[in-house]
């Protein structure tokens, strides 16, 4: 299996297909939501396979519900494995979240990424779920940190999540997909410190980084809340956090996600070019041992 290049990728939108193939810019790879391509045939799949002939693909799952109380669905894993075998993506990633409850005709799927309670029981369960997915898909997978609007009682610092992620990495052998926008959104929404978050991450396990835009809103009690809507440019604070992250862990394959209010290719490409400039500034630096990167560099 080939690795994802340590370069910029883009969350692929079919409307950008021709522009992406014709572009000679920053974007070197593309990511797609695996569940959008599990149909039997037709134009969507044909387009994905053509894209694959031009650049590496990262498959991003949104439906395995690895954070759930039940094991991932065997039939769904088998469908994903078949797509992986046919498409040969550079990697597969999923979320620290849940979305599925029940089985078969009694199942419901929430079509959203719901929060996991970071308990000892959940750790064992999620680790087993990741292990089952890695076995079925025949590879190490990456797990993405969620954006949270709500946390379980007692989760009053970033360590609640980063300790959980670190333990998952240690127990299941999975890697991490670090979504910098999600870190910012979660920390703002829950009152956590984003520098604590970066310090707490197992940096060596990071295989991919996501960047995206968010929206500001107020919740029903009038408290400010950030919504992870992937609907605009990356916020200045998130760019700053991206810089801090790469300073700590070194250059990593990085992706711009823009899923709602999808702009013209030139706008998206400009955002990718901006990220590539940041990535390039770290690509030339040598990172001998990521884990020994000085902590003050993150502050």
């Amino acid at each position: 299996m080939i690795d994802l290049p340590c370069a910029l990728g883009v969350g692929f939108k079919p409307c950008h297909f021709a522009d992406l193939l014709a572009s000679n810019g920053a974007v070197q790879w593309a990511e797609v939501h695996a569940e959008n391509y599990l149909m039997d045939g037709g134009s969507m799949r044909a387009q994905l396979f053509e894209l694959r002939s031009h650049m590496p693909i990262s498959l991003h799952g949104v439906g395995l519900s690895l954070g759930g109380a039940q094991a991932p669905d065997a039939a769904h894993l088998a469908r994903l494995r078949q797509l992986i075998d046919e498409l040969k993506p550079a990697q597969f990633s999923e979320h620290l979240a849940w979305s599925m409850h029940g089985h078969g005709a009694q199942a419901s799927f929430a079509n959203d990424l719901l929060p996991v309670v970071y308990s000892r029981e959940a750790l064992a369960r999620v680790s087993d779920n990741i292990d089952a997915a890695q076995q079925a898909l025949g590879q190490r997978i990456l797990i993405e940190n969620p954006s949270l609007y709500l946390a379980a009682q007692g989760c009053d610092s970033a360590a609640a999540e980063t300790d959980f992620l670190s333990a998952l990495v240690a127990q299941s052998g999975c890697g991490l997909l670090v979504d910098v926008n999600n870190i910012f959104v979660t920390c703002q929404n829950l009152g956590w410190r984003s520098d604590d978050y970066l310090h707490g991450l197992p940096l060596g396990a990071i295989g991919e980084v996501h960047l995206a835009g968010h929206a500001s809103d107020v919740d029903a009690s009038g408290t400010a809340v950030l919504i992870d809507n992937h609907g605009g440019p990356v916020a200045p604070e998130v760019w700053a956090l991206y810089d801090d992250l790469l300073r700590a862990c070194g250059p990593r394959p990085s992706l711009i996600e823009w899923d709602t209010n999808v702009p013209e290719w030139s706008v998206l490409n400009a955002e990718c070019t901006k990220a590539e400039a940041v990535l390039a500034s770290f690509r030339d630096t040598s990172f001998r041992d990521i884990k020994s990167a000085p902590k003050e560099a993150v502050a």
Partner: protein, 252 residues
């Protein structure tokens, strides 16, 4: 999970609002909203002609009721909405639009066609014996039998015809996919629905022709239909339809 689909269900106790003195429900409603909004958007994207026919407000009200009654059973969101046509047929507020369900059936069939397994004929198609042989039809071919002028309704809603259809007509359709992945509709001639249904059920050509005798289907129409199927690459094989293997190919 129930708390997500039922607006009045209590928030699971384990969660708390990050700010003291405020309700977890104020934040939980963000998830609840995301779930319902994304599913309704999925339906609006998947049934655009139906949304036009019903109007934004009526479609949204129907979609809201559908999402709560039929939450997705799997993460394959391209397959969400299969139950919508039958739901609409039973949805009391649309009793005055009895053809709305058929428009939904049509849009579902078009989506199924667009996502069907790719299949082309292997080698040359050679028919030796119409009494023993039938046609294997490509999975992208979907038959829609309607009591309404479904083709004209589609053309009107899709902006291809200016005049509203004559509602006294009944039109059955064939939905299929071209080699370039375009979805096409053919309005079937009289008897064409019976003929196609027989072919799709794995009957021999002779049996299919007998099912649609001259009185109901003109020979020229049958020839045109066969020509459309063969010329469009929609016949993937000539098959011996022996009784013990006579089995309908899964086609919807």
């Amino acid at each position: 999970m129930q708390a997500l689909f039922a607006p009045d269900a209590p928030v699971p106790k384990v969660f708390s609002h990050p700010r003291a003195g405020q309700e977890a429900a104020d934040r939980f409603s963000i998830y609840r909203n995301n779930v319902v909004v994304s599913l309704k958007q999925n339906l609006a994207d998947g049934f655009p002609l139906l949304a036009d026919l019903l109007g934004e407000e009526a479609f949204a009200a129907m979609a809201d009721a559908f999402v709560r009654a039929h939450p997705p059973r799997s993460p394959l969101m391209f397959a969400y909405g299969e139950a919508l046509p039958d739901f609409i047929a039973e949805f009391a507020p649309f009793a005055e639009l009895p053809y709305a369900a058929d428009v939904a059936h049509l849009e579902w069939a078009m989506r199924q066609s667009s996502q069907a397994r790719d299949a082309t004929a292997q080698g040359k198609l050679q028919l030796h014996d119409a009494d023993r042989q039938g046609l294997e039809i490509a999975p992208c071919v979907k038959l829609l039998v309607s009591d309404w002028p479904l083709y004209d309704l589609w053309a009107f809603l899709d902006g291809r015809a200016d005049a509203p259809p004559d509602m006294a007509l009944a039109q059955s359709l064939l939905v299929y996919r071209t080699q370039d992945f375009d979805i096409e509709l053919a309005c079937l001639p009289s008897g064409g629905d019976v003929f196609m249904a027989a072919l799709l059920a794995g009957k021999t050509l002779s049996e299919a022709a007998q099912a649609a005798p001259e009185a109901s289907m003109e020979a020229g129409d049958m020839a045109s239909l066969l020509s459309l199927l063969v010329g469009g690459g929609l016949v993937t094989a000539i098959v011996e339809t022996k009784p013990e293997t006579q089995k309908e190919e899964k086609n919807d």
